[in-house]
């Protein structure tokens, strides 16, 4: 399932209808719980598009509570709850400042869709993984041997790198290979996915 979650809307429904800024830890924790509640309803395998378009300000504390703690729950090997992939959308330069800082702190990475529709990796990721991720982005979907040929590396190397990227939920794993985490299928922009919050469509 693909689900769009309007973070600003979660803020207004879980904390206060008067707020438009994501500031303070208690606010961030409440919003994260609201997002988790929505994720609980969308099944064991899903792509969640977290839409920050209507968030004015995101401070470090809120970025840590929402982004870092959410990712930590879904990319940690020890406590994977479900196979949930996150695509971050509508992030401004200042949002990215705060998010990049907390990603560095926790050695996390995420995929964000920029305003031009192109995906971008943020956070801590080594050059090798970044290269494989870029290859996957260009291919769209591929098995390890195709990635190996494109990237000019061995099949084993490609398999290991793709496995790492999948474990970090930076690529989607399917039965026959991997799919780039580049937003909704068929080039649909994340903001066009749904007119209402918490909408869903088939993931694959």
């Amino acid at each position: 399932m693909i689900n769009r979650i309007d973070v600003s809307s979660v803020l207004r429904t879980t904390v206060s209808s008067l707020y438009s800024n994501l500031v303070t830890r208690p606010t961030g924790a409440a919003v994260r719980l609201g997002i988790e509640h929505q994720l609980d309803e969308i099944g064991d395998r899903a792509l969640a598009i977290l839409d920050f378009s209507h968030v004015r300000l995101l401070d470090f504390s809120c970025a840590d509570e929402i982004v870092a703690k959410l990712l930590l729950q879904y990319v940690s090997l020890d406590m994977q709850r479900r196979e949930v992939y996150f695509l971050f959308y509508g992030m401004s330069e200042s949002h990215m400042d705060a998010i990049e800082t907390v990603l560095q702190r926790h050695s996390l990475a995420l995929v964000t869709q920029l305003a031009d529709g192109n995906p971008c990796l943020l956070g801590v990721i080594d050059d090798d993984q970044r290269r494989i991720w870029e290859t996957m982005r260009q291919l769209g979907s591929a098995d390890p041997s195709e990635v190996a040929v494109s990237a000019g590396i061995s099949a084993d190397h490609a398999e290991r790198a793709l496995q790492d990227l999948w474990r970090r939920r930076l690529v989607i794993r399917e039965e026959n290979g991997y799919v780039a985490l580049c937003g909704p299928p068929s080039g649909v922009r994340a903001d066009a996915l749904a007119a209402t919050d918490h909408s869903s469509s088939k993931m694959s």
């Binding site: 206060s16 500031v23 470090f60 400042d97």
Partner: protein, 294 residues
């Protein structure tokens, strides 16, 4: 007998040390008179620190307000007397508070005691900060959000670590004496437990010969230590440091008997002062200067 403490002619973070010095040896139940009659100007630090000073006294202190009408009126416009009236016995006629719309008061004195207060502060300041930072200080447009993030993080420190509420104020003025340029100044002061005691509340005193307020400030402000074991903590002040560096701004934190500062080239302050007169809590100041447009 009442002890009289004279407020300097010009009251800012530096000259406020004279008040701390006069206050430190006094028992908390001794009656004091804060004499501001000859004071002509006060920075947001001066005003917020005056309010927190009163919180530390067991016997309500007296405040003699500035004699100069312009000064007293300005203090009224910043909402100083609105809060001081509860904390001090006021000596002198308080001018009627008028709107701050025509002033360079980006944020009048505002209490910070709970999470909702920070949402209020952030909501209030955004539009005015944008006009001031971009229009007057010639900073890049993204500075507004970063400035507000810094403000939010500093205010959260009060709620999470002080153990009691404090005050925040943001003013803009021309800093002729030291810089010859316009500045925006954020001041956040509280009279809570301070940085050292906050760290000790979780980890106990450090096993080192030199565990004091200065070291606690180094640990928290420079190295991101926190009383919480959550590894995500301590990022707020690190983020503030980064922005201050980008803007060639100044950032100082006084707590207990020490004061740490990130000092830009344009200022002659020292990075660390120790053995200062004790004052509880934390007193934070951020100064962002006008950018010189080539």
């Amino acid at each position: 007998m009442t002890k009289v403490i004279e407020v300097p002619f010009s009251l800012d973070d530096q000259s406020f040390e004279q008040i701390f010095e006069a206050l430190a040896p006094l028992p908390p139940d001794e009656k004091i008179l804060i004499d501001a009659r000859r004071t002509r100007w006060a920075s947001p630090y001066g005003l917020t620190a005056l309010l927190t000073l009163a919180q530390t006294r067991l016997q309500k202190p007296t405040l003699a307000i500035p004699e100069l009408d312009d000064t007293a009126t300005y203090w009224a416009r910043t909402q100083f007397f609105h809060f001081a009236a509860d904390l001090y016995e006021i000596n002198g006629k308080i001018p009627r508070a008028r709107s701050t719309e025509d002033l360079d008061v980006l944020l009048p004195l505002t209490p910070v005691a709970k999470t909702e207060d920070i949402h209020g502060v952030v909501d209030k300041i955004q539009n005015k900060a944008q006009a001031m930072l971009i229009g007057t200080l010639h900073l890049e447009p993204s500075a507004t959000m970063r400035f507000t993030m810094a403000l939010s993080e500093i205010c959260q420190n009060v709620i999470e670590h002080a153990g009691r509420g404090g005050w925040v104020a943001v003013h803009s003025y021309r800093w002729q004496k030291r810089l010859g340029r316009r500045v925006v100044v954020i001041a956040v002061c509280d009279a809570g437990i301070g940085f050292r005691q906050s760290l000790e509340s979780a980890h106990g005193p450090r096993a080192t010969d030199r565990w004091d307020d200065g070291m606690a400030l180094e640990e928290t402000v420079m190295r991101g230590a926190s009383r919480y074991r959550d590894p995500g903590r301590g990022q707020g002040l690190a983020g503030v440091r980064k922005f201050i560096h980008d803007w060639t701004g100044k950032f100082s934190v006084r707590s207990g008997t020490a004061r740490i500062a990130i000092v830009p080239e344009w200022d002659s302050d020292v990075p660390m002062r120790e053995d200062l007169p004790f004052f509880p809590g934390a007193q934070v100041q951020i100064t962002v200067p006008e950018r010189i447009v080539p």
